[in-house]
């Protein structure tokens, strides 16, 4: 137990990196050994993650556990601070779970031009970056992990991607980098400007716990709004929030299957996680002022992403666009600044991770069989590869938010929360958002079922009718996919598994805003004036 408390988070964060280092010593030709090493590493990480989950004190899910607090860069007051609470736990679990599945899938799906060693090692480095982001409790540490994620993904797209990989990878890299730069500026401003709420002294710290407690104390309102704006751009690009989403369809379409899955399942959540872990608790006053705008971009994204889906002719690009719509629901939940909405958002992140990750797996397997993802050339998948077709149908249903499957519990509560956002946020505006978001569910059904109809139903086209390569789901796909399919059902039937964990942590972090003496009302007046409510 002591070991776990002191080393648990460090272990789970750096195990993948250690694995990557070990793989460096294995010769390139030993592909099988390399695959085993990568899978073993990710399984060990999963084991460590499960251990953390098991020993986690769920009665205290609101407070950080397994906290590590060591000096790191003393000169700027940045520490090696890690911790896990109910908000980060589901995302950590998602990451450690998805990665082994990706490695299993990679067993016979190394994309061209091959070089399993580099490919697998990069994914392990990526895993360290993602886990680190979710457990970091120091802004600089958070930033470092946040950026560590970029490079491996950049190379995955640039080297193993599709035809247009160079453009896509560069765009991904630069766009996110651009956002990060503004985010970093925000972090620096917090460092320089935050004051202790009691003594009024400058804090000069990057410790997220301290900054959360300070909740923007001592920073004048206009600066708060600006700092939040910087973070808004930084995290918003990553989410991606309309209109900063244009890197996503390209990156997703060009990335290899594994890259797309990781991108959808985990990477996009770094942005939304940033909002609920950093931007909102540290600057609650600014968050209230920004909330109507976040909500606006969110609902535009819901409709716009869905329309984008309807216009697509490529299956993978369609799924990529659907992420814009789905993350819109997540952002709408966040924008309400209520515990209910943010719980929904976290649920939505996990659900989207599983469901859209699954859709990308399917797209990858379709591509492998048909050598194309052009929707109008496909068709009749249910006849040629019935199980693959049914899995696509099931996942589409989950994605359009069918109750009983995971997607619903991210979507419906977010819409519900919009009826009554936090005090001080214009109700009328958000009720409008609620209706728009509900209309988004119609469009979601439209594009997903239309995709299903055109790819899975009907008779196979002449081109592929007698193609022997079109086989049903193979063993590695089954092993990689069944846990995801199982979890989609499990979380749909027992949503409490996630809500019970996130709720205390979300309440805890929102208490900051509620404790502000007059901050909320002040902002309320301002925003009401702005929106004429």
């Amino acid at each position: 137990m002591d070991f776990l408390n002191d080393w648990g988070l460090t272990l789970v964060t750096f195990l993948p990196l250690a694995g990557a280092l070990v793989m460096m010593a294995i010769p390139k030709e030993e592909e099988k050994v390399l695959k085993q090493a990568a899978l073993l590493t990710s399984l060990a990480t999963l084991a460590a993650g499960i251990w953390l989950l098991v020993e986690f004190d769920y009665d205290r899910a609101g407070s950080l556990q397994y906290v590590v607090d060591k000096n790191w860069i003393e000169v700027i007051g940045s520490g090696y601070t890690l911790g896990l609470d109910g908000m980060s736990l589901p995302l950590l679990a998602l990451t450690v779970l998805v990665m082994p599945l990706v490695f299993i899938y990679s067993w016979d799906h190394i994309p061209s031009p091959g070089n399993a060693k580099a490919f697998l090692a990069l994914m392990l480095i990526l895993e360290t970056g993602m886990i680190g982001t979710f457990v970091a409790q120091d802004l600089i540490l958070f930033f470092v992990f946040f950026e560590v994620v970029l490079l491996p993904m950049f190379f995955m797209i640039a080297v193993w991607g599709g035809e247009d990989r160079r453009y896509a990878s560069l765009k991904f890299f630069l766009y996110t980098m651009f956002g990060s730069a503004l985010m970093l500026l925000g972090f620096l401003a917090l460092f320089f400007l935050s004051k202790d709420p009691v003594t009024g002294e400058l804090l000069r710290t990057f410790d997220m716990r301290v900054l959360t407690d300070a909740a923007g104390a001592g920073i004048v309102r206009s600066s708060q709004l600006l700092i939040f704006g910087g973070m808004f751009l930084g995290f918003g690009v990553k989410v991606p929030l309309f209109p900063f989403h244009t890197w996503l369809p390209d990156a997703h379409t060009q990335a290899p299957t594994q890259g797309s899955v990781i991108l959808a399942a985990v990477l996009l959540k770094l942005g939304t996680y940033g909002f609920i872990r950093i931007a909102i608790p540290m600057l609650p006053e600014a968050a209230e002022a920004w909330a109507p705008w976040i909500g606006l971009f969110a609902v535009i994204g819901i409709i716009y992403g869905a329309l984008g889906c309807l216009a697509q002719t490529d299956m993978k690009r369609l799924i990529a666009f659907s992420s814009v719509a789905h993350m819109g629901f997540v952002m709408l939940g966040i924008a309400t600044l209520t515990d209910f909405g943010i719980n929904a958002a976290i649920f939505g992140m996990v659900a989207h991770g599983l469901i859209t990750g699954m859709l990308f797996f399917i797209a990858g397997s379709v591509k492998e069989r048909y050598h194309t993802l052009e929707i109008k050339r496909l068709g009749g998948m249910l006849l040629q590869a019935p199980r693959l077709g049914w899995i696509l149908g099931f996942t589409s249903m989950a994605s359009l938010g069918l109750p009983g499957l995971a997607g619903f519990w991210g979507e419906f509560p977010a819409i519900l929360a919009a009826y009554q956002p936090a005090n001080g946020i214009p109700e009328e505006t958000f009720r409008g958002y609620m209706v728009v978001a509900a209309i988004g569910t119609v469009l979601a059904a439209g594009y997903l079922l239309w995709l299903l109809q055109r790819t899975a139903m009907g008779e196979p086209s002449e081109e592929f009718a007698n193609d022997p390569h079109i086989t049903d789901v193979n063993r590695f796909e089954w092993i990689a996919w069944s846990p995801i399919l199982f979890l989609i059902v499990l979380f749909g039937v027992a949503p409490g598994l996630i809500f019970d964990v996130t709720d205390p942590a979300v309440v805890e972090s929102l208490n900051n805003c509620l404790q502000l003496p007059d901050g909320c009302e002040g902002v309320a007046a301002a925003t009401t004036a702005m929106f004429g409510g």
Binding site: L170, K171, L174, Y175, M177, F178, A181, L185, A189, L226, G230, P243, T246, W247, Y304, L307, G308, C309, L310, A311, Q312, T338, D339, F340, G341, A344, G380, L382, P403, G404, F408, F412, P413, I415, L416, A417, Y419, Q420, M434, V435, A438, I439, T441, V442, L443, A445, G446, L449, Q453, M457, G458, E459, A494, P495, G496, F499, D500, T502, D503, V507
Partner: protein, 811 residues
């Protein structure tokens, strides 16, 4: 004074208990069984000798038996429950009929409280309907051997599902007359459809899959009707929708079928926007943002604690949901298309059960609609008008259909219109009663049409049917019974429920007519017109299908997909023949119900003349179903039945039959015999002579152009122009901005790099660098262009950063 006080004491105390008969408490087992069956069929179905059908049938049969026992327990509970106003432990159910020993007198004051409650009931009913007092008292005397009536006490069992943000999400069951009735209807018809399907879809390539989805549907529907909270209702509502999707698209190889499935799902999603908005509004306005519980939401509304505006919004939004799910104008268009699914599915899902989910939802949340639509004391509102328009509009459409299933589909839409109208005018019991009777005779008709289609391999009445009476006499008789019941001729089922709806409109002022909740005269007349239409189109349907000579038997392969049902097992040609027992027995059972079920709610006063009359048979349905006087039901008034209305409405139905009979059975038949052909209409009918009639006919054939509007214009625009425009903006505005910004930065960076860095700074470094390693050169060879680009970008990035810093700190 006494009555006022008593009324209050009813509504303040929740008339819901936890403890009751074992079967009432454990009604959740009924949906659980088919749910388990679904999973079992899914994983093991194909390996079993009957391909999974045996699991489905067993599960539904047990569910049906449980539903019957639960229904029995409810009748007993309704008559014998002792209620002391809130202490749930005090309810003891009498298991031994007629004996007083079982009654609970567990605490001293319960006697007084009970007396108060009973008083209240009698007074409440007395204010609205004088006859009720008598019938209730008689009922009590008959069943329990006690002299007083008992209050309406529902049974609720809830457990916490999960919680989030301080809101508890419950999962539970609410058992009262309404849900018990639905349990019976759903399980019975599902069981019959299961049996029927073993023959009808026998040999289908997705036979196992078909039964799996039947099980899932049954489970979802039962889950829906037992819901004790609105969130659970949403879940059930969506789940039955997805089963409907899967079953409509059962033969998805052909595009029209998958189109129909998509249309059904997406149209329902449009209505679901209303469902979500309405339920969310209720959750906050009536549930206080803390509870989804149906009973407490209803209670808040009944007690007048909810703002009227919120109720108007909620009721209107939920009406949109009813319009899609229960096929009301203008969102009904998916339902006729849904006939692309196998016929048993049409009978179960698209006639008897799923499509009444909207009606059920209104009935369940009735206070919301009663208050929100201001039903009492009014003469028009949204719900009643939607229903009235639907019942006539769809009735007209049924005339121009050649496909027998489409006739029945529009008929279903029309009958659902009756139900919605009834709820809209405040005739709750009439609506629920019509739901009940309609389920049997419409399932009967659908399965009957399937039986015919099974024989002639087609659904086209004009091309492939005619004269079927000779070949399939048994199917003919059952179909005739269903038709008469639907047409509303006494004493078959449809007559009683339809008559009750017409009474409920309160619009009948002739010969000492009736009160009701308001004067819905317009709706009464629409109901009358609907009665004539129904009778007439069913007569047409009977003639085209069963009379004249058989027109089929030649080249029936031309009209491919709509005869899909037929392709499966029977490849043989020749004369059509009667169906087997697995098809006929369900028809017999349903015919029996079609004849008899109307008798469960005989109007009061029917037998009052004689002392030995079976007065206890009057208004049994109302007694056991309507939660009058319970805490979660509004104070609705009941219209008084009138002989004159019954006679007039019957006469109108007979008139409708007569006109169609004269046209088809007399004139068309005569001409057919003259020409020696089996005709389906007169060659120079009204529509070919009169321009107005022709225009009307064209309008009907084109289904009021609604499909054109939805599929062609709205969906076409959204999928086509709008989506393309959004994508164009994406590529040419948003993305272009990004690209231009990127390119500019690269260009700027290159200038800086080439001119300043390479020219000046690097000049010194390079002279040293040239001497250094050869590996570096190798590296440069590989992607020298890229390295330069990256470097340029780094500079650009730095420039942006610096700019941002300057802006930030200048402010």
């Amino acid at each position: 004074m006494l009555s006022l006080f008593a009324l209050e004491s009813v509504s303040e105390v929740s008339t819901v208990v936890q403890d009751a008969n074992w079967f009432l408490e454990h009604a959740w087992i009924i949906p659980l069984l088919p749910a388990i069956s679904f999973v079992l069929i899914l994983f093991f179905g194909k390996r079993l000798p009957k391909k999974g059908a045996e699991i489905g049938i067993t599960a539904v049969a047990v569910s049906f038996l449980l539903a019957v026992v639960t229904g029995w327990a409810w009748l007993d509970h309704r008559d014998n429950v002792v209620f002391d106003g809130g202490h749930s432990e005090s309810v003891v159910v009498d298991d031994g009929h007629g004996s007083d020993d079982g009654y609970g007198t567990d605490d001293g004051h319960s006697g007084d409280a009970t007396a108060d409650e009973e008083h209240a009931i009698v007074v409440d009913d007395g204010t609205t309907n004088g006859d009720d007092r008598v019938s209730l008292a008689v009922a009590a005397a008959e069943t329990g051997g006690k002299t007083e009536a008992h209050p309406y006490v529902a049974v609720q069992q809830t457990t916490q599902w999960f919680q989030s943000g301080g809101v508890e999400f419950g999962a539970g069951i609410l058992v009262d007359g309404l849900s018990v009735m639905m349990l019976f209807v759903v399980t019975l018809i599902s069981l019959l459809v299961h049996i029927y399907s073993t023959d009808y879809v026998g040999g289908d390539r997705r036979y196992t899959h078909f039964f799996a989805f039947l099980s899932l549907f049954t489970a979802s529907m039962l889950f829906f009707v037992l819901s004790d909270n609105i969130l659970q209702m949403i879940v059930g509502w969506e789940l039955v929708g997805v089963c409907s999707f899967a079953l409509i698209g059962h033969w998805w190889e052909e595009k029209p079928n998958s189109d129909a499935a998509l249309k059904a799902f997406i149209t329902n999603r449009v209505g679901d926007v209303g469902l979500l908005v309405g339920m969310i509004t209720l959750f906050f306005a009536a549930g206080g943002g803390t509870t989804f519980d149906t009973v407490s939401i209803n209670e808040q509304v009944v007690q007048g604690n909810v703002s009227h505006t919120a109720l108007v919004v909620a009721a209107a939004a939920l009406t949109a949901a009813v319009m899609s799910k229960s096929g009301q104008f203008i969102l009904h268009t998916w339902l006729p298309d849904a006939m692309a699914g196998p016929t048993p599915v049409s009978a179960l899902i698209h006639a008897a059960t799923m499509v009444v989910a909207g009606i059920f939802m209104v009935a369940r949340l009735y206070p919301v609609f009663f208050e929100g639509m201001s039903i009492g004391g009014s003469s028009i509102n949204l719900l009643s008008t939607v229903g009235a328009v639907t019942l006539v509009g769809a009735g007209l459409l049924a005339f121009v259909q050649d496909d027998i299933k489409k006739v029945l589909a529009y008929s279903t839409v029309s009958q659902l219109g009756y139900m919605a109208m009834a709820l809209g005018v405040g005739a709750w019991t009439a609506a629920v009663f019509h739901l009940f009777t309609h389920a049997f005779f419409k399932a009967n008709l659908f399965l009957g049409s399937g039986s015919v289609a099974h024989a002639v391999h087609s659904f086209d009445m004009k091309k492939d049917m005619g004269g079927m009476k000779k070949y399939m006499p048994r199917t003919f008789w059952t179909f005739l019974i269903g038709s008469v019941a639907l047409a509303g001729l006494p004493p078959l089922a449809g007559f009683w429920s339809k008559d009750e709806i017409l009474v409920g409109t309160g619009g009948w002022g002739l010969f000492g007519g009736t009160g009701g909740n308001g004067a819905y005269t317009f709706h009464l007349s629409m109901g009358m017109i609907g009665a004539a239409l129904t009778a007439a189109y069913m007569t047409r349907c009977m003639y085209l299908t069963f009379f004249g000579e058989w027109r089929g038997g030649h080249g029936h392969d031309d009209h491919g997909h709509d005869s899909h049902d037929a392709h499966d097992a029977h490849g043989h040609h020749g004369e059509p023949h009667e169906s087997g027992p697995r098809i006929l027995v369900p028809l017999y059972v349903l015919s029996g119900f079609s004849i008899l079920v109307g008798l469960v709610n005989l109007p009061p006063g029917l037998f009052s003349g004689s002392a030995k009359s079976p007065a206890s048979w009057q208004e049994r349905f109302l007694h056991y179903m309507e939660p009058a006087g319970s805490s979660y039901f509004p104070a609705v008034a009941h219209g008084t039945p009138s002989w004159s209305l019954a006679i007039v409405s019957t006469a109108i139905a007979v008139l409708g039959i007569g006109m169609a009979f004269w046209y088809y059975f007399v004139r068309v038949d005569r001409l057919s015999k003259q020409t020696g052909q089996s005709l389906t209409g007169l060659p120079n009918g009204l529509t070919s002579r009169n321009r107005l009639a022709k225009a009307g006919h064209t309008l009907l054939v084109n289904k009021y152009y609604l499909d054109h509007l939805y599929t062609g214009i709205i969906a076409g625009f959204t999928k086509g122009r709008l989506a393309r425009a959004a994508y164009w903006v994406n590529q040419n505005v948003l993305d272009r901005t990004v690209n231009v910004a990127g390119e500019t930065a690269v260009r700027a960076g290159r200038v800086v790099y080439e001119r300043i860095d390479q020219g000046v700074v690097d000049g010194l470094v390079n002279s040293a660098g040239r001497v250094s390693d050869s590996t570096g050169q190798e590296l440069r060879k590989i992607n020298s262009g890229q390295v330069q680009n990256y470097a340029a970008l780094m500079f650009a990035g730095a420039a942006v950063l610096a700019g941002a810093f300057i802006i930030l700190f200048a402010l």
